[in-house]
Amino acid sequence: MAEQTMVGALNMALARAMTDDHDVVLFGEDVGKDGGVFRVTDGLLDRFGPDRVLDTPLSEAAIAGVAVGAAAQGLRAVAEIQFSGFAYPAIDQMVNHAARLRNRTRGRLSCPMVLRMPYGGGIRAPEHHSESPEAMFAHIPGLRVVIPSSPRRAYGLMLAAIRDPDPVVFLEPKRRYRAVREDVPDDGVALPLDRCFIERDGGDVTLVAWGAMLAECHTAAEALAGKGVQAEIIDVATLKPFDADTVCASVEKTGRCVVVQEATLTGGFASEVAATLAERTLAALRAPIERVAGWDTVMPLPRLEALYMPGVARIVAACDRAMSYA
């Protein structure tokens, strides 16, 4: 049981799924010999052969659409979009087909596919390589939207996503791809796809986040603890369907909530979290629900990227504001 990065854990989960189920096939741009530009599929072509690991032509709409067709035939299609910034041409297939094939045929056909892609900023990448489009997918009924925040979670969630009988959009916070290593047992155990994970207990304020923002929240929580403020941290690893119960229960307890997302503020998934809380936990709220998010502007190129990304200081400041209410 070696220590794994998130890349290693994802690779391990893909290999495990392919070993367990011959119907699992992978395709995407450069997933074969190259092993994916981030090496998530490294070695899989050699292990599973060119019938199950396929390089596609450069066409994202087709990547998603081919996955729909293959999945309708019962293949578990795991399709990679090289960067989320290039996933937009695939949205049509996800909204108009993947998400509704089961519903429109009354269950006759279904779509057990995973559309996986790295997303998010913080690695000084070129233009169009740093965005966070999760909210667009989370608005599509019939999809599942999953975002791991750690190697272990990546392993368990990826297995769950592949085994799930419905289409899953799996967003991988690339900034965390190699940020940490942890023990990831290759035990074939999947994580649930409909539950938030409480990562840290605390009674004063609830921090809600997903993906790369979890690490920021943990650092912020440490800083807050130093001031005597106990933050509870929740990883919304499955944005859709959204496990509001876990978040609401925490906020009922703490009375304060800061939702942290890397994506641009307006219309982001943090707004969904906040709206749900405003509907269900109003009486418990002791402070306004704050959203710490990317600003409502285009993600800057690397030289100014750091100004855009929500970080520890902004999270702590928001918690401080929340704590300032009696």
Partner: protein
């Protein structure tokens, strides 16, 4: 300057607009019973079409897209397929769907706005009618990928219109089908119009068969009003694909004799004279002429057939109209394989509120 590649596009027609054979008849067409089966399906398609329009006009069906004049293209495709192939239609493939086993009642249900119309009781693996133009083309490649990886001798057959050939999805799907040598056949039913946009305004390409050249696959033209030719040409492409020799692309030349849909008024944008002229190439009349001339068909058979088709359509329409709407919970119950916990409460709220008012 040297020449590095050359291409040519062929056109095949067998029975012409006057009902005369202009080429050699394929074996199946020498079997009168088989030709009559195709003829029958074309006539049934047209009966269904007329009834669907009538039901729409009287408020008992939703917006409907007629396949009037395109019966040969659809029936030829359906006839060329084997049962375990998979059809990925657009919305004017009634004739093909009928041969695949889709029922008239299912088609009425679909156009009547009921999801059960896509839950085909036969043709379980066929795709439902596809409304976003051309978006089913990548699915066809995906279905074909599954066939190929599983080494099944099956073929995916994808049908769309002249307008669809302008869509990026179609180009991407064709390219990937070529690159991966997939067992898929794309059939362009060129009916001259994409709503109000005439074929010539859709693309500067002189034929729509030549779109195949971009994907490195063979492209051919066929007289889409000649069911015999369609069946031959599509059949050849299908069997070629089945043998592992790669995808195919056929442009079937036909004409949309009706409005685009019941919501359209084609007189706003096209000359009625064009429609009148197009009737001369009516696929049903020409096959009838051929059958009559060959002695396989007569007045009585025609009368019987029309009556039988009307009766079949009557029965299906009645069954459709008698089908009660689905229960409200069906709005939620087919979304995921298992209703996620997070949706259970919403579903309950929906059931409490929905029946009252919507």
């Amino acid at each position: 300057m040297k020449e590095v590649a050359t291409f040519s596009i062929s056109h095949t027609g067998i029975i012409d607009a006057d009902g005369k054979a202009t080429g050699e008849l394929p074996a199946f067409a020498r079997d009168a019973a088989e030709l009559i089966r195709l003829y029958r399906t074309m006539v049934l398609t047209r009966s269904f079409d007329a009834r669907a329009i009538a039901l729409q006009r009287t408020g008992r069906l939703g917006t409907y897209g007629s396949s009037l004049g395109q019966e040969a293209a659809a029936v030829g495709v359906g006839a060329a397929m084997r049962p375990d192939d998979v059809l990925l239609p657009s919305f004017r493939e009634t004739g093909a769907q009928l041969l695949r086993g889709v029922s008239l009642r299912e088609l009425f249900l679909y156009w009547g706005g009921d999801e059960r119309g896509s839950d085909f009781q036969a043709a379980r693996e066929d795709f439902p009618i596809c409304v976003p133009v051309g978006s089913q083309a990548p699915h066809a490649a995906g279905v074909a990928l599954a066939f190929k990886l599983r080494q099944q001798p099956r073929v995916a057959v994808c049908v769309f219109g002249d307008g669809a050939t302008s869509k990026g999805d179609v180009a991407e799907a064709a390219n990937i089908a070529g690159a991966w040598n997939l067992p898929v056949v794309f059939v362009v039913v060129n009916n001259g119009w994409a709503i109000s946009v005439p074929r010539d305004a859709q693309s500067a390409a002189g034929t729509l068969a030549q779109k195949a050249i971009a994907a490195g696959m063979p492209g051919v033209q066929v007289d889409g009003n000649d069911v015999v030719a369609v069946r031959v040409v599509v059949g050849e492409a299908i069997e070629r694909a089945r043998r592992g020799e790669g995808p195919g692309w056929i442009e079937a030349l036909t004409y949309r004799l009706a409005d685009h849909t019941t919501a359209d008024d084609a007189s706003r944008y096209r000359d009625p004279a064009e429609v009148t002229a197009a009737w001369k190439a009516d696929p049903i009349a020409r096959l009838r002429t051929w059958l009559v001339a060959s002695g396989a068909w007569g007045r009585q058979q025609e009368q019987d057939l029309l009556q039988a088709c009307t009766a079949e359509v009557d029965a299906a329409a009645a069954a459709y109209l008698e089908t009660p709407p689905q229960a409200p919970e069906t709005v939620f119950d087919y979304l995921y394989a298992t209703l996620p916990a997070a949706l259970a409460e919403q579903r309950a709220r929906f059931l409490a509120e929905a029946p009252r008012h919507g």
